[in-house]
């Protein structure tokens, strides 16, 4: 009985996925599965998270996250699994030492949770910049960079930076500052609404593997634009 119910649910899920596929002006499944540039594939994958949750079991998602054919598929599955497992809500309840150890072992979500829990100590951008400068753990440096990006971006009451400065920082020496600049640039570009999908895809192709954080900034914008289609 239960298995039959699941099968019915599976068929329904497929139908939902099919219906939603018809609705896309751009074929996100095709982009995620076939696009060679990782950032473009990932931008598509980020829009497939909810579809993946509907379409796959946790085991299938875990398998896809580890062994999916492209970065887009792996990212979609990884984020779907993360969401399915309550996302950061499940992590922030762990103590900071545990999270730090997990982050040091390469768990980016644990790093995000560690920074989330510590963020009251990082309200001023210069404090975050200092932490980035002395950070020994790459995942935490990235998470701190994302936090700092919120202060650098539009609407921030303190620490907001102009775009030309962000464009310098995004190709600079510090990983954390590059991430911060990428985060802020994405926000600026989304708010401005000037760039269209082909322009963004071209910008990514030009920067992928050369200026990874600049490509990442465009990836965020592209994910948003794909989602709007």
């Amino acid at each position: 009985m239960k298995r039959n119910g699941l099968r019915a649910l599976g068929l329904m899920s497929c139908a939902i996925v099919f219906v939603s596929l018809i609705g896309f002006a751009v074929d996100l499944y095709d982009i995620a599965a076939n696009e060679e540039v990782p950032e473009i594939s990932k931008a598509a994958g980020l829009n497939l998270v909810d579809d993946y949750i509907s379409a796959y079991t946790a085991e299938e998602l875990a398998d896809l996250a580890a062994n999916g054919a492209t970065p887009g598929i792996r990212l979609a599955a990884d984020r779907a699994l993360f969401k399915l497992n309550d996302g950061l809500l499940a992590l922030v309840v762990l103590d900071q030492d545990t999270l730090y150890a997990m982050a040091a072992a390469g768990d980016q979500d644990a790093a995000e949770a560690w920074v989330f829990n510590a963020r009251a100590s990082y309200k001023r951008p210069e404090v975050v910049e200092e932490a980035i400068a002395t950070c020994q753990v790459e995942t935490i440096e990235i998470a701190l960079g994302e936090l700092l990006g919120g202060s650098y971006g539009p609407g921030s009451p303190i620490g907001q930076k102009p775009k030309d400065e962000l464009l310098r920082l995004v190709v600079g020496d510090s990983l954390g500052l590059r991430i911060a600049a990428a985060t802020a640039l994405t926000t600026y570009w989304i708010q401005e609404g000037r760039l269209a999908i082909p322009q963004v895809e071209n910008a990514i192709r030009a920067n992928s593997g050369v200026n990874p954080e600049l490509a990442l900034a465009h990836q965020g914008l592209l994910a948003y634009l794909y989602g709007e289609e």
């Binding site: 996302g87 950061l88 809500l89 001023r124 994302e146 700092l148 990006g149 921030s156 948003y224 989602g227």
Partner: protein, 607 residues
Amino acid sequence: MRKTLILVGLLAACSLAALGQGYDTMPADAHVIPIGVEGTVYEDMELGVRGGTLHIPNIEDPKAWNNHTAKETSTTWFTYRMHRGLMNLDHISGAVVPDFAKSYEISEDGLVITFHLREGINWSDGTPITADDVLFTFNDVITNEDVDCNARPGMILPDGTFPICEKVDDYTVTFTLSTIYRPILNQMTFSLMPKHKLAQYVHKLNPDVPAGTFNETWTLDMDLSELVGNGPWIVTDYQVNVSVTMERNPYYYGYDPAGTQLPYYDKIVSHIVANQDVSMLKFRNGEVDVYAMRPEDIPILLPEGPSKGFQVMVTDLAQYGTTWICPNLDIGLADGTDEEKRELYRNVEFREAIAHLLDKDTMVQNVLNGLGTAQWTGVSVPSPFYAGRDEYGGPTTENDAVWFEYDPALAASKLDALGVVDQDGDGWRDLPSGAPLTIEINANDNTIRIAYCLIIQDDLRAVGLNANFQVVDFNTLVNRLLGATGDIIQLGLTGGDEPNSGKNVYTSCGNLHAYRYSACEDPDEVDLRIDELMDLGANTFDLDEAFDYYKEYQILLAHQLGYIYLCQPTFLYTYYDYVGNAFMASPTSTPGGNNGLLTELCFDKRL
């Protein structure tokens, strides 16, 4: 399984039955809220559509469903949405306006307030609401010593009596006062309670029940279908530690100008979460629709807003309350010491010099991370009586604000003119007699207060005032303030809309007149005028007239520099774009806030 389904179905049917069927047409006495009407504070708002569910985070379970015995906001968050009073705060301006009363009038002598109730309005179970319910609530609940009611102290008039509440007819009640006292109108926001449901639990009306029974009425374990209210929503489901569901009251009397009955949402689900961090994560995940964010949330939420479709409101609207330093103008008075220092502190020119040394911009930037605003008066900025407005309830203009700009050079010249100069060459300014002048600044162990005080200490020192900041424990600090044994104390006060509620602070005999308690025995001209203005503001029912009195009071207070004001954190909020009218969130009301006023005007734009 089948039995469970039947049970669920029956419970749902019970719930529907308890809520009644609603009005066939809009009642003639409906309360039409001018949403979208030009020339009103509602003009920017959109007419909504009915339907949908608003998801709101809440960090505590309610303790009961009885509004009048509630002692905590975790309960009143729900009860304020279930009950409305004769008066209420305007959803947007915060002014006190008629609500269940469609109008009121005040006798020429100012001693009798007559409220005209809306006719043809029902409780949520379909029973008509009449004057008997008003009398029951006031005479048998609020002023009944047998009921542990929090609204009672606010009903006491300046001479210690209660207003006398009487029925004229089914839809008219009067409140007779022993003395003219306009702030009593604020108290007329008391939540009306259904006599037909609750009279049986009041000992004086039903001697068969023991005294105090009402205090144990409408507890969490009650049958929720017995809950009855006149507000926009009624609680219909409660899952401990999980959620509270409120459904639209089909007999609510609020309507929009298009004739759509309010509230727009069918349901509110209040999700009970462990803490504010969980609230924030649930907001990020889209599990709740609104969130009262904190400064530390801003860098995380700002970049996500555009792509996830939510707005991050970082405003310059100050929150309620005041923050200040208080130089003790009675320093040494009790033991006959510090006479010269006391004389100096009592000289307003000296206090002006101190005021010019308060770098509020730096405090806002460095202490409040840019999320604060400078203050100059004792009335909270959101109050409709705040003197930074041109009229009662008008927009903030700051036209009459009294600012002492940060100007160390001016402060130094004022000190020089007072003879407060360095006479012995040790680098510190001395008293005019040549005796050393030392200033001790105290605050309790609070990171924001400490940061303020360190900035103040540095600025005082920079002009040669030998200021030393010391942290003391909170009780010691309060004792020094109340006992007039401190020097300069930094603290804050909560605030509300009605300036008269600050009477205990700002009138010369107030028990918190901490800058100069001796003013009670020896008031100066300014003290006397402030005392007078406080009474004049309370003793008129003309709000514009009261505003003028309170404006003069605030300007005098600002020049008096008894409490010298610092900065207040600003209002922050975040909501998903699809929550219509949530952009009107303000310190007065938010979709998810305690008083629930804005909630009934929000709607789901996706419908």
